[in-house]
């Protein structure tokens, strides 16, 4: 079945630095979605990418969908303490609309 993998599992970042987390699917995706879960909270939808090579920005967050629609990345610039949490990517299966979630990248920030 479809697998969605994320790396790294953990990201320790100095406040003010940039970092990138990556998401890879074993199959081509019709779209990819990103969610953020703050410590103690529930996942919250951030964004959806649909087109090959699409790039979307939300303030300091830049999301990219690969040309082959099998991978995606999330780049955060000038990391702040508010960026702490776990970022999940998710993609629909090939034959239905259930989402397969990656294991997530847990981000901690050193002040």
């Amino acid at each position: 079945g479809q697998q969605v993998m994320q790396i790294p599992q953990y990201q320790h970042v100095q406040e003010g630095e940039d970092f990138t987390t990556y998401c890879n699917s074993s199959t081509t995706l019709s779209n990819i979605q990103w969610y953020k879960q703050r410590p103690g909270g529930h996942p919250v939808f951030l964004i959806q990418l649909v087109k090959s090579g699409e790039v979307k920005k939300q303030k300091r967050l830049t999301f990219q969908f690969g040309e082959a629609k099998k991978n995606s990345s999330l780049h955060i610039t000038a990391t702040q303490t508010t960026d702490v949490g776990t970022y999940f990517c998710a993609g629909p299966g090939p034959n239905d609309y259930k989402l397969s979630f990656g294991a997530g990248t847990t981000v901690t920030v050193r002040a």
Partner: protein
């Protein structure tokens, strides 16, 4: 606007006791509903999903069951809890939007089985 409710927020139960977690959605009709479990520091494991009243699909064999007695109500149950059932249970809903389903999660129930 749509809202999703889960209760209780936290629950401590002894091994072998029954379980009933409830999830309700407001502000939308005929949503797809999902139950996920998240172990501490881990990812999301899909347990059940439902595309309509009385329609339940199970993703993993286990001692849990789900029911959807009403359009916007989704219930997760167990007759006898195991220690391994501890975790963070999340309910989510989605509506197909141009073949691009986005899922919206409830606040979750933290279950500790002792």
């Amino acid at each position: 606007s749509q809202t999703i409710h889960q209760w209780p927020a936290t629950l401590v139960q002894p091994v072998g006791s029954p379980l009933s977690l409830e999830c309700t959605v407001e502000g939308t009709s005929n949503p797809n509903l999902y139950w996920y479990r998240q172990a501490a520091g881990r990812g999301l494991q899909l347990l059940f999903y439902s595309v309509g009243i009385g329609q339940i699909s199970s993703e993993v064999p286990q001692n849990l069951s789900a029911s959807r007695p009403q359009d916007r109500q989704f219930i997760l149950s167990s007759k006898k809890l195991l220690l391994s059932d501890s975790g963070f249970y999340l309910c989510a809903w989605s509506v197909l939007e141009q073949v691009r389903e986005t899922q919206y999660f409830g606040p979750g129930t933290r279950l500790l089985v002792l």
